[in-house]
Symmetry: C2
Subunit: 455 residues, 2 copies
């Protein structure tokens, strides 16, 4: 508690010194602009409906780079360009059928990204249900050999943020197939990563490790996971899988970058980023069209308010967050080669919902200094009910950690995110215009405060 009191006193001193009224006024103008003249929703709507899903390595993803580049060009920024990067390419294919052998009933299934398929052939086997990777290891080759391994541990509804619940279950999706293969499994079915009970399978990345055979991995809807579990409780269940997902050779794609050069400290970069790629099903509206829309709105707002930043403000639409981080890694590599310094990098990759706050991480030696500034910011942002806490930044900006700046994650309300995440219903109609705008205004406000004060 004493720490907290001291922080508040620091905050008070810091704020008084820097003209809180002017800042509060400018932040109000950021909100007013975004809520009345914001472009984030119409731009996101255009990208979702005209382009749709934007899987890395697909033509759609590359179309999307041209789309956002043209939007950034319309803002008269100082620089707008595409930065080449290599990305993996994976195709779902047209065939995707998972059925019960007994009655032919189909399950709602979706191949996991990076998974091989059955090569169009029918793979048929008995199903064994497990709750964890460890259970597969305990059951061993004798029980797993020749089986389709069905991972059915639900996300934990007791977690307050759905991201915590996701974090506690997603190992099944990422490593389920490869661990099953290690013990002789022939395929993996994974309960979809959502707290809802519905008919939508949730795809997402999986990964093969070591020299074990590559076997197909697919997600099934939570309704079908419950049904499959019920059938298994009654006796043996055989299932057939037939799909033609495949990994293709790497392709060139792009990050898209736009910046406003700083007037006083141009070498200090404040980055705002989202990722342009999405999964192939749905429109990637929340994941992460919303993040792209947020950060383009930041640039729109700063330009329209005629703001001349002290530091360089750069927005980056990263390619390939979902299945490889090709864009994020390339961005950091080039940045390091140029000897750049990112004072702060913020990522929006948690959907277009009402903003709750920000989480921050940074080099331990400098984090304390940051935290005092951030407490002052939290006070200025208090009319907007935004918290600032310690916590993660984001996948695309993580490679910038070595530059020892501050990494910030934008945190909107998380309750509905996994209703849509990686599904066919992650579409523009799931994004509320005002919630999206408020997110953009919150991010712009924090960027403005960091630009004014440094850290």
């Amino acid at each position: 508690m004493l720490d907290r009191l001291l922080c508040l006193v620091f905050a008070l001193v810091s704020i008084t010194a820097i003209g809180q009224d002017d800042e509060a006024f400018f932040i109000k103008s950021i909100y007013d602009h975004t809520l009345t003249e914001g472009v984030c929703h119409p731009w996101l709507s255009e990208m979702c409906t005209d382009i749709g899903g934007r899987l890395s390595g697909s033509d759609n993803a590359n179309k999307a780079t041209d789309f956002v580049k043209s939007k950034l060009l319309s803002l008269s920024l100082d620089t707008v360009y595409k930065q080449p990067c290599m990305v993996p390419a994976w195709e779902r294919g047209d065939l995707e059928i998972v059925k019960y052998i007994s009655d032919g009933e189909e399950l709602s299934a979706s191949a996991l990204g990076n998974s091989i398929g059955t090569g169009g052939k029918i793979l048929m086997a008995e199903v064994i249900e497990v709750q964890s990777l460890d259970e597969v290891r305990e059951l061993g080759r004798e029980k797993i050999m020749g089986k389709i391994v069905f991972y059915n541990r639900p996300m934990d509804p007791k977690q307050l943020t759905t991201f915590s619940a996701y974090g506690g279950a997603v190992d099944q999706r990422v490593f389920g197939a490869t661990v099953a293969a290690e013990y002789g499994g022939v395929a993996a079915l994974v309960r979809s990563m959502t707290l809802r009970i519905d008919d939508h399978p949730h795809t997402g990345v999986m990964s093969y490790k070591g020299d074990y055979p590559k076997i197909p991995g697919l997600a099934i809807s939570t309704l079908d996971a419950d049904e499959l579990s019920k059938r298994l409780a009654k006796g043996k269940v055989k299932i057939s899988i037939q799909n033609d997902a495949k990994v293709l050779p790497e392709r060139e794609s792009y990050n898209v970058i736009g910046e406003i050069k700083g007037t006083e400290f141009p070498e200090e970069i404040i980055l705002v980023g989202g990722h342009l790629d999405s999964w192939d099903i749905g429109q990637g509206a929340h994941d992460d069209g919303a993040g792209c829309a947020h950060v383009m709105q930041v640039m729109h707002t700063l330009k329209k308010l005629n703001y001349k930043p002290k530091r360089t403000i750069r927005c980056v639409l990263f390619m390939n967050e979902e299945n490889g981080l090709g864009g994020g890694n390339e961005y950091a590599k080039v940045s390091n080669e140029k000897g750049e310094y990112h004072l702060a990098a913020l990522e929006s990759d948690a959907g277009g919902f009402t903003p709750r706050g920000f989480t921050c991480e940074g080099d331990t030696s400098t984090f304390k200094k940051f935290f005092i500034s951030l407490n002052a910011f939290e006070d200025i942002l208090s009319p907007y009910n935004l918290y600032i806490k310690k916590g993660g930044g984001g996948a695309d900006i993580r490679p910038l950690k070595s530059q020892k700046g501050l990494l910030i994650g934008f945190r909107p309300d998380s309750q509905r995110y996994f209703d849509y995440h990686h599904t066919a219903i992650d579409k523009i109609d799931a994004v509320n215009k005002r919630e999206l705008e408020l997110g953009a205004a919150a991010i712009t406000s924090l960027v403005y405060l960091i630009d004014q004060h440094g850290l």
Copy 2:
């Protein structure tokens, strides 16, 4: 700032004295129960789909009183009963047509509650657009006489909470017809109370004042309001209105009440309330089915956790919040006659969205004392990101103000509320299960803290 520091010190002392750990643990169990075994969503779903809209004075509203009574009876509370109250009755009727004379195109319209209709006849007149009640007064009889007055001032998107935006525009809906009538207007059309641009008209209460003639009042969708305004910018526009809304004689209806008797201070009542009535269109899922579900969940949770409250905890499902407050007024009258004392009364009437916090009002002489306790509560609730601020309680509990207890309004996130409010799409599919549950858990936690500490 000094005030704030002092409050924190008070909070610290207060918390240390009362065993914060036990309380944090019990609050965690409240959340765990609600998120895993909550009944609020299935019960709300049942009420919405089996009964639907529940306008005061309708058979549906009375059916709903039996429904919630049966649910409360299933909880083995100490007392469950229906409290009679008289409520107005109003019927929309089957006929509701608003059209342009020029091309016969229909507008999406909905009669306002308590409004008369055209008696089934066609009312045809020229339209005049205004932005406010004052503009009608300024234009005067000469310009208004014989016209349909079209109120088109939108809700202000710059307001952060949509309730503020609503509060700044809703005078047009409530008083538009009666002010128009004062200057000779023959009907009023009101732009729907929402920030969305869509095709759903939003009904809601209106009121006739004085001896001016009663004229029909209807809401039109925001899309149609924009279209009508465009047509008016080009020249004269004539519209026809034909509907048969009518006011019927008062009827008997009921509040539904359930309580758990306090073990130490049974005479100190902590009330949690929502309102059971809704508008006739849609299912009243957010307004205020969600509030009813919240407060029934409070009782469910306390009973299932085997909690023996020190004070009497009473849940009240009020009748007739929307168009008369018959239930709220009767409840307070009976309570005063019995000499009861409501230490605190909390109302949930802002939808089933993710909880943001609570607003409190109370008698000025005692409010300071309350506020210190509330600061302590806010600290205990901080893991749940809930604020406690000064602000309004709720319409149904306002008549209890004379008992000088604390009145509390539950404040969920407001951004989507007016997307659904008083429309045909305020249905169960607009309510997210976890958001609803988190609201119930937040309310239960505050009720528990007030019960433990008094105020």
